[in-house]
Symmetry: C2
């Protein structure tokens, strides 16, 4: 890749304190049962973020840090916490506190989901207000509702995570125009997440102007997760370069 | 990129005589007026194919080979001819003969378009029959009609070029399922072409199982053609890797 292109895809899209986010691919790892596979996935994806969590309600198992440490160079990653197991603002807050008090994590991937596993925007906003007041940097996950995005941005969130389609559905971006409008208006970085089932969906999100994408199930469910991780890495660069290139516009609906 | 991934994206998808096609990105260059830009585009795209033509009816200008030779290392490319200016089988044949007799070209990107600039499948088949009888290797461009694809494959075409959407429209792949079915059934390599307006469309074609894509207007019309060429190059690798990874399937239409 030429120098200009390298610069474009490697320039930071988010800086939080000493942490500089350059890779535009973030990978969820809470579905794996093999620590060695997690290590390989993180490497193949080129991500710089290590997402960890605890389950305060003990509903699910997760890999132990002590097991991961054998396969993942943990000190090389930016650690962020996730509340993705939380089904209420209360449970999300409890998770955040445990991660802060035990791991020293201050950057939180905030998720408050409803029973259908979709983001609960109202509860997320409520929870965001409390965590921000406590000094957390937060990245809330929301349904792409313009007004909710605006409220969270003005509250001081570090970045917004916008749902493309239901988590684990693999349906891609169901409303590209709607998503693009929110991204274009948003003054903090946007991460597109949920339902990105393959490389084409990741490239699509980046072409709409997203700062980054977060993928998870697409890798877990691929026949060859490491190949899909490599595909996602390339797709994110491809989509970013295409966005920066000022692509042509389609000449209207097919007749 | 790891060794396995490099092998997957670099393994030949077509071999014709001494020519080995590895790059899965083919770039049309007949719309440019700057030979230096053509040189940069070919390099940024990583393509291995140099497409040249003559206009037997003198309807359009094109860059002269002697000008291109100052900017393009012509001997490093696989030369193929194109009949993309042809509006009849007769005109296509005349173009092919001129390219054979003057440049020694035996591999022909066969296009016979109607007045609306769409492939004329019937005339293309007629023309293919004649060129094959004369010993050409041909890659015909057709509307994605399963029966026409089958006929051309059985006639002995080297590869088939399937239209995604109208040339220069930027609309992407209008019927992904239909295209995927033809690609899956076809025993010769398939190239998806026409209307691929950005990186996401190229990745999409590759994820559907195409052997390669051909782009043209997407580069010409991008604000930064070289960035788009780089984006397309990455998108093709991303899509191929995703296809090879055995991606998850979407869980059905959005409710």
């Amino acid at each position: 890749m030429a120098i200009l292109e390298r610069e474009l895809v490697d320039s930071p899209w988010l800086e939080l304190g000493d942490h500089c986010f350059r890779s535009r691919l973030i990978v969820g790892i809470e579905q794996y049962t093999s620590a060695s596979l997690v290590g390989d996935i993180l490497q193949a994806s080129g991500t710089e973020v290590f997402i960890t969590t605890v389950d305060p309600d003990r509903h699910r198992s997760s890999l132990l840090l002590s097991d991961l440490a054998d396969y993942v160079p943990l000190d090389r990653y930016i650690w962020i916490g996730t509340t993705s197991f939380a089904r209420s603002a209360r449970s999300a807050l409890r998770t955040a506190w445990i991660l802060r008090d035990n791991y020293g994590i201050r950057i939180m991937k905030l998720d408050v989901r409803d029973e259908s596993n979709r983001p609960d925007n109202w509860q997320t906003i409520e929870c965001a207000r409390e965590l921000l007041a406590e000094g957390f940097e937060i990245m809330p996950f929301i349904l792409p509702v313009p007004e909710d995005a605006r409220v969270l941005e003005e509250m001081g969130c570090a970045a917004l995570r916008l749902m493309a389609s239901p988590v684990a559905s693999g349906r891609g971006i169901v409303d590209p125009c709607g998503l693009q409008e929110i991204i274009a208006r948003c003054r903090v970085p946007t991460i597109v997440e949920g339902g990105l089932g393959s490389a084409v969906h990741a490239a699509h999100a980046m072409e709409l102007g997203a700062s980054a994408v977060l993928v998870n199930t697409a890798l877990v469910k691929a026949r060859e997760p490491l190949l899909m991780a490599a595909a996602m890495r390339q797709a994110v660069d491809a989509g970013r370069l295409a966005y920066e290139s000022g692509p042509m516009r389609a000449d209207g609906p097919v007749d």
